[in-house]
């Protein structure tokens, strides 16, 4: 079974996520967690690592490499997510469907209530039925994904930049450069959002600027305009 990896800095929303995993994820799925305090689940095997990282990017890289020591792929889940009964199974079904088509996959991520771009259910297409858009029942290819709930694999993995904001943009950009394709799954999950970095979005953006200017001037220009 494909394991789950979770990185949590403040553990604020972690208990609710873990409760949804306890209820909705098969018991033979191993759970890898980095967080400040020891976490456990009654039925799942949990591998816990104490969090000592400055940025989400560094924590996720540590987690990914730990998991890749024993597994070829994993589902990365942000700590302020709540799974639906079908989130995990639909995501894995969609990955298997895409793999069976011989597609070189970068990441496959779920839809949600709080994300930018086409992952956000507000941006659906087709008829808006009373409970959702027609397009929410389709797998869609995209050029950008936020890895809030995302399947990734060892063979195409690209380390995340050691920044918070824009780290997912950079990773997607690298996937595409490597001819890996990105897909939005039919899987749906709830995302509280902005629980780790806060809602001071200008500050979040500013915090990543120095690293981008120094290490990725091409991307700095894209997100901040002309390099200072």
């Amino acid at each position: 079974m494909t394991p789950i990896g979770i990185c949590s800095k403040n553990e604020k929303c972690l208990p609710v996520l873990l409760k949804s995993i306890e209820l909705y994820v098969p018991e033979d799925v191993e759970i890898f967690i980095t967080s400040p305090s020891i976490q456990s689940l009654p039925k799942h095997k949990v591998h816990h690592f104490v969090h000592t990282y400055e940025t989400g990017g560094a924590a996720h890289n540590f987690m990914a490499h730990k998991i890749f020591e024993t597994h070829d792929s994993f589902v990365s889940i942000d700590d302020d997510v709540v799974l639906n009964p079908s989130t995990y199974s639909v995501l894995i079904d969609d990955v298997n469907q895409l793999k069976s088509m011989g597609i070189k996959l970068g990441i496959v991520a779920g839809r949600t209530n709080y994300a930018k771009g086409f992952q956000n259910i507000r941006t659906g297409e087709g008829k808006l039925y009373s409970l959702g858009y027609e397009s929410e029942s389709q797998i869609v290819e995209t050029d950008y994904l936020a890895g809030i709930v995302a399947w990734c694999q060892k063979s195409t993995w690209i380390d995340i930049a050691p920044i918070d904001w824009f780290s997912d943009d950079l990773q997607c950009n690298e996937f595409i450069k490597n001819d890996c394709r990105l897909f939005i799954s039919r899987a749906y999950f709830h995302h509280v959002g902005s629980q780790t970095f806060g809602t001071d979005f200008a500050k979040c953006k500013e915090n990543s600027e120095g690293w981008l200017r120094e290490n990725r001037p091409d991307m700095h220009e894209k997100y901040f305009g002309v390099s200072k």
């Binding site: 929303c13 609710v16 409760k19 209820l23 709080y114 808006l128 959702g132 709830h190």
Partner: protein
């Protein structure tokens, strides 16, 4: 503090809901109705044991009980998950509304699985997305109908808007009864996650057919409005 009233049939999503209440609204007392087999393990809640009948009758029982002691309550479906500010935001909005309107009926949270007026996909003003949301989501909006997925009701209003013994349309009947008594309903800026269709399913045709006889007999004046016939 305003209590939260929950009725459950099989308790499938209940542990996640109760964990979210524990984390984000620990001050809220919970009234929980369900069979002894499903709910007897839950602590820190007033448990009301009973076999499932239908949404309306089951919720009437638990709300009636809560409103013996409280001036108002929040009706909450068992497949809801609160966000860190759902409970507080809903009650703050109720305060704002009550300062402007005497006859407050239902005040319901927005959700990812709800009728259009409460659904976050609904964008009547054509707002662009700003920081992953529509601007209109931060405002309270008056509406004709509220689904009590996570919704406030006062004791006074409740006595005019108890549910009929129905699954579908129990909320429509309550809203219409209240409107006829001069009450007004609102959509709050509070948000909850709603899994949806976990108890009574999503076979709309069957659920409509089940509701129709009771409404024809007991609220014939609503038949045309609800069913267009």
């Amino acid at each position: 503090m305003i209590p939260i009233c929950i009725s459950t049939v099989h308790g499938k999503g209940l542990p996640v809901l109760l964990e979210s209440i524990k984390q984000y609204a620990p001050e809220a007392f919970v009234y929980l109705r369900g069979t002894e087999r499903v709910i007897s393990g839950y602590k820190n809640a007033r448990l009301i044991f009973g076999e499932p009948r239908n949404f309306g009758e089951d919720y009437n029982e638990v709300i009636d009980d809560a409103l013996k002691y409280a001036q108002a309550c929040i009706v909450c479906n068992d497949d809801v998950v609160l966000t860190p500010n759902s409970y507080q935001r809903l009650l703050e909005d109720v305060q704002v509304i009550r300062e402007l309107e005497v006859n407050v009926g239902w005040v319901g949270a927005r959700s990812d699985c709800a009728r259009p007026s409460q659904n976050i996909r609904y964008n009547p003003d054509g707002d662009p997305l700003h920081m992953n949301r529509f601007k209109s989501e931060q405002f309270i909006r008056e509406t004709d109908n509220v689904s009590p997925i996570f919704a406030y009701i006062s004791r006074d209003a409740w006595h005019h808007g108890r549910f009929g013994p129905l699954n579908w349309y129990s909320d429509d009947v309550s809203c219409a009864d209240l409107t006829n008594q001069g009450y007004r309903h609102f959509v709050s800026s509070a948000y909850v996650h709603h899994v949806g269709s976990q108890t009574i399913g999503d076979n709309g045709q069957q659920l409509v057919a089940e509701a129709l006889p009771w409404i024809k007999e007991n609220r014939p004046q609503y038949v045309e409005h609800f069913f267009g016939t």
